[in-house]
Symmetry: C2
Subunit: 230 residues, 2 copies
C-alpha cells in the first residue's frame, strides 16, 4: 500500500513534503487530462488515453494514482463541492420547493456538462474513499431538502428522499442519450418529473420507496462493485 498522497485540494497547495517540480507538473497535467477525457467519455475512459493526453507515460500515471478511484476523486472533488454548495443554498431559501428545484437543477446541470460527473453522481463511493464523506453530506442535505419541501406542503407527502435517486439515475441515462444531440432536452425531462413531485392532486403510488439500504446497494453496484449477496 502506497503512502498517503497530497491530501489537499486540486493542485498547487503545499503538501507535507512538496513534490519534485517535474512530479508536480506531471500530476497537474494528468489531472487536467483526466478532467477532459472523463468529461467527454465518462468515468470508465481508458487510463492509457489520459496518460497520452497528458503527454506522460502510463507508468507515471500509476505512480501518482495507483487506482482509478484516486484519480476520479481528485477530478470530481470540485464539482462535488459545487453540488454541496447548491444543496446548502437550497436549505436557506424561504421557499423549500424552489430550493428543491435549485438543488436538482444544479445537479442535473453538473451532470449534463460532464459525462464523467454524470457517472459519478449515480454511484456510491466505497466507505474508505476520501470523498465518501462528501457524498454522505449530500445525502443528508438531500434528506432535509425533501423533508422541508414536504412540510411546506408543496411536495407530495408520499415522496421520500430516496426517490431523488430516480432523478439522478434517469437523468444520467438521458444525458448519455442526448448529449451533443439535444443539449437541453434533459431539462424538459426534469420538469416533467418535478410535475410528478408536486403535492397538488397527487395520485397514490403503487410501490414502497427504496429503503436506504437498497439505495446504498444499488449505487454501489452501479459503481462497479460485485454484488456480494450478504
Amino acid at each position: 500500500m502506497p503512502p498517503e498522497r497530497a491530501p489537499a485540494a486540486t493542485a498547487a497547495s503545499a503538501p507535507i513534503r512538496p513534490l519534485r517540480r517535474d512530479a508536480q507538473r506531471n500530476r497537474d497535467s494528468l489531472l487536467a487530462a483526466a478532467r477532459a477525457v472523463f468529461a467527454e467519455q465518462g468515468m470508465q475512459a481508458s487510463l492509457e488515453q489520459v496518460a497520452k493526453r497528458a503527454g506522460v507515460a502510463i507508468g507515471t500515471l500509476y505512480n501518482h494514482f495507483p487506482a482509478r478511484l484516486d484519480l476520479v476523486q481528485e477530478v470530481f472533488a470540485g464539482k462535488l463541492a459545487t453540488w454541496v454548495a447548491a444543496a446548502e443554498q437550497a436549505l436557506i431559501m424561504d421557499d423549500a420547493w424552489e430550493g428543491l428545484c435549485l438543488f436538482l437543477e444544479t445537479m442535473c446541470e453538473l451532470q449534463a456538462r460532464d459525462r464523467g460527473f454524470n457517472d459519478f453522481a449515480s454511484i456510491r463511493l466505497p466507505e474508505n474513499a476520501c470523498l465518501a464523506g462528501q457524498q454522505t453530506r449530500i445525502h443528508e442535505l438531500g434528506v432535509r431538502i425533501v423533508e422541508r419541501a414536504r412540510e411546506q406542503g408543496r411536495l407530495r407527502p408520499d415522496l421520500v428522499p430516496e426517490d431523488l435517486a430516480f432523478v439522478i439515475w434517469s437523468h444520467s441515462r438521458i444525458i448519455e442519450a442526448t448529449d451533443g444531440i439535444a443539449p437541453h432536452a434533459w431539462r424538459r425531462h426534469l420538469y416533467l418529473m418535478l410535475d410528478g413531485f408536486r403535492a397538488e392532486r397527487a395520485h397514490p403510488l403503487p410501490e414502497q420507496p427504496l429503503t436506504p439500504e437498497q439505495l446504498y446497494r444499488a449505487m454501489l453496484r452501479l459503481g462497479g462493485a460485485d454484488n456480494g449477496t450478504d
Copy 2:
C-alpha cells in the same frame, strides 16, 4: 454477405431448405443460451459465454449468427411482438389514459424482466435490420396512443410522443440500478412520471421536445453506432 437464414419465427418451422438436424439443434441451443445470458447480463454480454452455455464452439455461433445483431434480433423478436400487441391493445381501450398506462407498464415490465430487452428497448436498430420495421410500428402506435390520450384531455397537452423516450431511457437506467435489489421499485418511478404526465398537474415546460430526428440519432447512438457528424 451470407445468404438469408431462416426468416421465420423462433425455431422449428420449416425454412426454404431445412437445416441439418444437428444444425437445427445447435441453433436452438444457441438461442436459448443467448436468451438466458442476455436476460442476465444485458445485450453486450460476451458471445463466447453464450456459446459455452449452449455447449457449442464459438465458431458454430458465428456460423449461425455472423453478427451480434443477427442473434439479438431473433432473441428479442418475441418480446418485441408482445410489446406491439400491448400497444394495439392500448389503442382499442375506451379510456386512452388507461391505454397509455397499459402501454408503458407492459413495456417497463418487459424491460424489468430482461436486462437484454432493457437495452434493446432503448436503441434504434439500423434501417436494414429485419426488426427495424417492428420498431417503426411501435413508434407509430406510440404516437397514436399519446395523441388519443391528449385528445381525451387526460394527458397534458404539451406532451408529445417523443417524450416517451424519456420513460424508456429513465427506466432502463433504473432497472440497471435496482434489478435484483428492489425488483419492483421501477413501478414507483413509472407512476411518479405518469403523475407528471397528467393534464391536471401540468406546469409549463422549459424546453422544446426532442425532434423526431434528434430522437432517432440518440437511439442510434445508444445502440453503439458512431455519431457521424452529418
